[in-house]
Symmetry: C2
Subunit: 205 residues, 2 copies
Amino acid sequence: MPRAGLTPALVIAGAADLADEVGFDRLTLAALAARFGVAVPSLYKHVDGLEAVRRGVAIAALGELGAALAAGQAAAAEAPPAERLRVLAHAYRAFATARPGRYAATVRAAQPDDAEHAAAAGSALHVVLAVLGELGLTGDAAVDAARGLRALLHGFASLEAAGGFGMPRDVDESLDRIVDAYGRALTLSTERAHPGSDVAPPAPG
Amino acid sequence: MPRAGLTPALVIAGAADLADEVGFDRLTLAALAARFGVAVPSLYKHVDGLEAVRRGVAIAALGELGAALAAGQAAAAEAPPAERLRVLAHAYRAFATARPGRYAATVRAAQPDDAEHAAAAGSALHVVLAVLGELGLTGDAAVDAARGLRALLHGFASLEAAGGFGMPRDVDESLDRIVDAYGRALTLSTERAHPGSDVAPPAPG
DNA sequence: CATTGTGGCTAATGACAATAGCCTTGTCAA
DNA sequence: TTGACAAGGCTATTGTCATTAGCCACAATG
């Protein structure tokens, strides 16, 4: 029996690819083992069962998502905040459509006591918060804005992934308009009545 | 063997309740049969397998969601559009948190050829489009707005359900602010450059 | 009272996750 | 060089679940 040369990282990476191919919910140890040409129980030498594989994919995917968002921001470093917001939104959507299995994994909530998973989510969120900061948002307003933006992006991406946009309208353009509108609303909000009590910790959210 | 008196509708209703209790993804024929005090294969006399149960729950839940949204709008019939938008958002969130299993079912996309499922989704969407119409949105702008609003509401609800809001900030107030901001952005958009080419059919989206 | 269809059932099959325990291979130290 | 040992494969087994096949009882209908 020649060694297959598996490692935990390899198994997780293979699982992520498999999830992109067949869907995160159809990720199965049987299929994963087959992909490596190995018997199912062999996987248990590297990974602690299906749930651990899913968690591993989630953490890895959150890292990749954060990196993709950061790369987009770096490429638009000189652009004005509104444009950077648009770039962020498109990078998010691009990740979700190009890597649907990984993206689905990023949406699963971390267990309350799972610090590593929470940290991965937080690092992806960091990029979003940075862009919002450029729009001059602090305190409660920043929290609201982060919630809303993540909701908007996630909702858009997941509805699109689920085929929920059955309307004859270009999706890219829709996203532009929606994000522009949202950004405009945010900056208007700051000029109004919500002075922002104090800076909230950028917990995963 | 006394008859259990099952019907397809009863089975679906029980499945919806079970989904609310244990989560839509943990909906299982075994648990469903146990809930009715019946052997698993008996369910097949009423329902065409697990996937059909899921679909049935989705269709039923979409109907209930649409009814809940409509009821909220009826109760706020005299309120100004911005307030009605806020009411809509809160009704949506209330449904999602009170009936998480059913709500999760509503998010699953219909199969492309599943007219009944698509119709159920469309009827729920109808309420949303009506409120947007009150804001004076037509054509492409209305399509964009519907996409964005559904994305916003779904994203908010699903992230909250997943425990994604780890920040110390009242969630109800966040939702108010976000929806207000979005509504403001929408009405601003209409006053600007997008005159809306033609009315798009209210397909499920 | 005979018939028939409906709605239960048991039994069997097959996918999958998970655990237990074996056996080989490669490494590292005596 | 060799011997021990850990790592990383494996087979076998168990248990959960969905699904299908086919039986049987009951109740309604004539």
